[in-house]
Chain length 454, copies 2
Amino acid sequence: MLVDRTKLLLDTIKRLLRRSATSHLHKIVNKTHAADLAVVFRFLTLSEQETLFDLMDSVEQKAMLFSELEEEILVKLIEDMPAEKIAEILEQMPTDDVADLLGKLSDDRSKALLDLMTKEGSEEVEGLLSYDAETAGGIMVPDFIALKQDATAREAIEALQKDYADVEMPFYLYVVDDHDHLVGVISLRQLVVVPPETKLKSIMATDVVSVETNVDQEEVARIVARYNILAVPVVDENNKLVGIVTVDDIIDIIREEATEDILKMAGIGGGAEYVETQSIFMSVRKRLPWLFASWIGGIFACYVVGHFQQSLSKLVYLAAFMPIIMGMGGNVGTQTSTSVVRGLATGRINVKQIWHVILRELSIGFSLGFFYGLLLSLFAQFRYGYEHWQLGLVVGFAMICSMTVAATVASCLPLVFHRFHIDPAVATGPFVTTSTDILSVFFYFQIATLLLHI
Amino acid sequence: MLVDRTKLLLDTIKRLLRRSATSHLHKIVNKTHAADLAVVFRFLTLSEQETLFDLMDSVEQKAMLFSELEEEILVKLIEDMPAEKIAEILEQMPTDDVADLLGKLSDDRSKALLDLMTKEGSEEVEGLLSYDAETAGGIMVPDFIALKQDATAREAIEALQKDYADVEMPFYLYVVDDHDHLVGVISLRQLVVVPPETKLKSIMATDVVSVETNVDQEEVARIVARYNILAVPVVDENNKLVGIVTVDDIIDIIREEATEDILKMAGIGGGAEYVETQSIFMSVRKRLPWLFASWIGGIFACYVVGHFQQSLSKLVYLAAFMPIIMGMGGNVGTQTSTSVVRGLATGRINVKQIWHVILRELSIGFSLGFFYGLLLSLFAQFRYGYEHWQLGLVVGFAMICSMTVAATVASCLPLVFHRFHIDPAVATGPFVTTSTDILSVFFYFQIATLLLHI
């Protein structure tokens, strides 16, 4: 397993660090993949990180490590490093990673580093920095292959060998017209198998999927996933080819967005991922505000129960059923909202059929409520039935009400959020559980007061 | 937006279907990308799907549609189709997609279809069918390029043009020894730029990342994501190259696994994604069992409250604070368990540091509890303080207890599940909320009984 292998590597490195076994460490560090080192770095102290980093021989490997490291770790690592040394490493990194890093530094620092870089490299980075980090423009790399439509296959291959020797992964060769407008695409393989004098124009595919620079990265990921392509060309507003987004970056985006959605649904909000190095104070500060909705809701529920204090004092054992009725409502609410939020995220829910979705979830909630309400009814009759024969009816009805209302509210909230362009993932957390809590308690006591005549 | 474009397409197709505008439909169907048609199919009835399908001209496009369609839809669509027609389409599909489909059909049907396919195609499919669908063997395709290590670059290019003309996306050229053991990898681009007589042996990279056939698909996805590769070679137990897993399949896996995790965390379980066509009865059946844990927990809570009935009857307004204390505990529990589960899934949590993680979450829970406990204490004093001056203390302490215990339990459960090789995502749903409910109520009344002397 990848996890086991990484753990073994981490243990070995830690042991060697304790023993200051420099020559051993040197060997390991220089033959380990940068992606694995980046994971190990997460669990090391800054001074341990620096020790390892200084043992790395080649600037290329340092550059790869920079690309793989988490931003938080990287920013700390380079804090005390001389600017010249950093700039030298940045030169070897993919432009989009450099832009990401510089975007995290102070303006002064970022400018100083750009000044130290070669003109060509710094211009590319500055170009990327002008786009929003979470759009196609912010995640693209300018390393693409663009060939003129009147060129021949032979000329294309020659250009590949001379002009594009530094392009990392030439998945597709894009074809442009005289004004650099994107007009077609050819695969490298096609180029190798056609007669050398064939014009690109005659073999290129013309239905190229492309995105504009301002398209959101999530949308770019959706397009790459839907059409199973390895890279999507990015064009400016005039359809001029300016970059490509490659599939390896897309994978990272899909994972990040999934994590973000999961955390939002749990009411933790963005950027609150589990981070070893994050202080407890920081974690508390990130989680605190999300619980406020729940606190306010609890105070509401407090007033609702207070409102029925009279009835409750006559039949104290009614309180015993509050947790189960609230809990089941809350759980069915979470099920519903999660299903709807995920349906919206993956495009399975057609927003035009709002009423269809709500009616469907209402029916599911009612059915589940009917089943568990009946079960609770029997239990209540068996446990407290000698005091009030209607008690079974009360808790049964309350359960049906609670679960039906919870499912309805939990399907409406994400749809409403979506309509107002608020991320529906936010809606599943505290909002759903809190509102179902209040409604459940209210319906429970209302039904009890009516049926038990108290 | 992709979503908007799809909606427009769906609306157009539905309108044309209503008007039976066959020639219009014919044109649209044949120029639309199969991936887009597959999405449209989700919202159409079976007979509408059949109408569209019959309008498709080429077998290749039908094959692409088959690959893109959701299995549930596809299985229904081919139910009444003559086997010969299906087999003809299967011939054009990637082997892994055929294997997936046949795995979903009855043994008889699947065998009948295999018999109708050409020998070569059916053997490949049967090879794949022998692996578990969710392992590297089950998701790989046998379309890879394997070259002998003693071949020259020129020979390799010739082989590419003759023998491997049907390989879809030749990302990497794998190099094998005389016994077909995987020994190296070369990129197509390298091949084009070196002198024609260069031996592959001398230019190949020898540190190839590969997986064995029985490796779980999630692990394969993790490897592809970590090392930013476009395809990972799959080998059998003797290191013989048997297939590759490509990055486009990895993207689908990452999305599916994220959805699965999200649904599990919400206590819906696998395969319960929002599906338009799924009957309400089916949805109920899938969600019902997950709520049972919560129901049992509620019954427990019922006994706990019953246990304190004496105290409660003396101070009925204590019941008013039950919802907020339970609710806050539940929410902080969900935050914690989600953060830990996601940390385990993404490898951010080092399982050796269990105590560190638990202690950390306990501290966070305590801090949050202290803040909101203080807030609630003030509120209680203001609202009911005239009856009992200790009430503020009681609810404040109860809140601290509830949130601390909830955070601790919610960090332990996923770690324990992980230890016993049960998917920790399952642990965050009903289990956490239910156990925190019970504990919260218990501590609340215990503290109240002690401090208020009731």
